[in-house]
């Protein structure tokens, strides 16, 4: 659906040239929810703006639905943008228009007859659960409601792709969850391909099928969300997925073990059995369970005892049980 080929973007500033995107290659399949995660300043927002050419790439190609975006005439570009809508972190609703009129806006641009536009806008606002707020102005809506209006507006022209730029970053966790559920529904029922830019791992875990990790303007890792979550290879991915350093800063520096339980082993009391069998104590530094694509995964960070013999026993035990683990260097 969307292919990026050797995409580069540099900005000229008074301080000199800044390379924001370096040689990005990416393929987003039709119908999938694709996540791009990175820390702030990694170039995520520029990347998404290069896709609909709000930012002109310095070099490289964007291919959308078989079309090279760079080859389009200005007029064709305006037309194509109607089939790749964008949703923003700050909602960006027209403040002087009601929710209904906001959803009508892209339809006005697409020259849809007024009556038809109004009907479609009403349907969409109902779809996002705001049928009672048709005539409310953005200032009368909560953050989550504003984002729902923005999503309805983005869907108005029946786009093939929804580009979401940090759309949950201004929302609280509960609202985030409900907005993500809405996106998931839209993806399932309407078949819209969704690209999500975020710095929150939770967003990726909850709805994405595949993920790309971006750092310093380069894609450092791409793969199925489950794969990247279980076995993060790049430093950035580890930073985003692993428990943050400051949460365990009061522990003394020792060897640590990261254990991941998949759906099957989640019921067995692994840690208790392990300490009994190996006669070695471990300190649980961090534990969490996550649901990825409907399956439960447990994650635990253990601080190992000092002596090597106990450690070997623990590792042997885990190997025997077929539990996935990895030794981590925890910098304290």
């Amino acid at each position: 659906m969307i292919s990026l080929r050797n995409l580069c973007k540099t900005f000229e500033t008074s301080e000199g040239t800044i390379e924001v995107l370096k040689n990005i290659n990416l393929d987003i399949q039709k119908g999938e929810i694709f996540g791009i995660i990175g820390l702030s300043g990694a170039g995520k927002s520029t990347l998404v703006r290069c896709i609909n050419l709000l930012e002109k790439p310095t070099s490289g190609e964007v291919i959308f639905d078989g079309m090279r975006m760079g080859d389009l005439s200005p007029k064709e570009l305006l037309k194509v943008r109607q089939s790749m809508s964008m949703v923003f972190q700050s909602f960006n609703l027209l403040q002087q228009r009601t929710a209904l009129k906001n959803v009508c806006y892209p339809l006005e641009i697409a020259k849809v007859p007024k009556e038809e536009a109004r009907k479609r806008a009403e349907e969409l606002l109902e779809l996002v659960g705001l049928s009672d707020k048709l005539n409310a102005y953005p200032s009368q809506l909560s953050g989550g409601q504003k984002q729902r209006v923005a999503i309805a507006r983005a869907l108005a022209t029946e786009p093939k792709v929804l580009l979401c730029d940090e759309i949950t970053s201004a929302l609280d966790p509960n609202t985030t969850r409900s907005i993500l559920e809405l996106l998931q529904n839209i993806n399932r029922t309407m078949g819209v391909t969704i690209l999500i830019i975020t710095h929150e791992m939770e967003v990726i875990e909850q709805i994405c099928h595949r993920v790309a990790v971006i750092n310093g303007g380069s894609i450092v890792e791409t793969g199925e969300v489950r794969e990247v979550f279980l076995r993060p290879r790049s430093e950035t991915a580890k930073q985003l997925i692993l428990p943050k350093g400051h949460e365990i800063s009061h522990m003394t520096g020792k060897r640590c073990l990261r254990i991941v339980f998949d759906g099957n082993s989640a019921f067995e009391p692994i840690i208790s059995n392990m300490t009994l069998e190996c006669r070695a104590v471990v300190n649980i530094l961090y534990a969490n369970t996550k649901s990825i694509e409907g399956r439960a995964y447990g994650e635990m960070l253990l601080q190992l005892p000092d002596d090597d013999i106990s450690i070997k026993r623990i590792l042997a035990y885990l190997d025997e049980k077929g539990i996935f683990y990895k030794e981590e260097e925890i910098n304290v």
Binding site: L54, V80, Q82, N92, L94, Q96, E108
Partner: protein, 220 residues
């Protein structure tokens, strides 16, 4: 304290002043609004950046704005004569008023339009809006309350300028104040014209603020 004649004169003065002010403001907006839009969109961060046009326009506007009104009025007398056929009276005053107010209005419009959130403009662009659609569907409607407030300021400024034109026979309350209050030392006439001008300014300002508040959907 005033005889019938003076009251009639004042009444005529009020009407002339209103006539000059309203017509000049309308014409100043006819020129200033498009100029303001042009200034806003051709800016290097605007929707349609043309830095050269922006700089040139900015220079011309700054030049016109830096000429004091009375000097401008005298300076363009030939132009006034060419357009209206005379240089005295309220209709003649409209010409310099429009010339002086248009650049001022352009700057007011520019600053109102620049208040529109760049994110909203970006969203409009992402939906495939053309530059023209962004101007009349996003920039102007979104800036409407601010534009109306600006218009209230513009109309009161033009009113003040129209009174200034009284010194060169511009008509309206300004002329009455100069001819009776200044040259004939009739301080009471002077005081009355000043009070009338103050009242008119207050009314325009208040109406502008009310309309602006009523049209603004951001605060409720």
């Amino acid at each position: 304290m005033f005889d019938q004649g003076m009251l009639e004169l004042l009444g005529k003065g009020i009407l002339e002043t209103l006539y000059m002010t309203v017509v000049s403001t309308a014409l100043a907006y006819a020129f200033g609004l498009p100029l303001g839009v042009l200034l806003c969109i051709t800016d290097k961060n605007g929707v349609y950046p043309i830095p050269f046009v922006n700089k040139l326009l900015g220079f011309i506007i700054n030049f016109l704005r830096s000429v004091p009104f009375l000097i401008l009025l005298v300076f363009i007398l030939p132009l006034t004569r060419a357009i209206v056929g005379t240089t005295i009276g309220s209709t003649a005053t409209i010409v310099p008023l429009v010339v002086a107010a248009s650049p001022f209005v352009a700057r007011m419009v520019e600053s109102s339009l620049k208040e529109v959130d760049s994110g909203v403009i970006e969203a409009a662009q992402s939906m495939g809006s053309s530059t023209f659609q962004i101007i009349y569907k996003v920039l102007i409607p979104e800036a409407k309350p601010s534009l109306i407030l600006g218009a209230a300021i513009a109309i009161t400024t033009i009113l003040g300028h129209s009174a200034m034109a009284g010194f060169v026979g511009g008509g309206g309350l300004g002329t009455i104040a100069v001819n009776y209050g200044y040259y004939r030392y009739q301080r009471d006439v002077m005081a009355v014209t000043v009070i009338l001008l103050v009242i008119i300014v207050q009314i325009f300002q208040e109406i502008g603020m009310r309309i602006a508040r009523r049209t603004d959907k951001r605060i409720r």
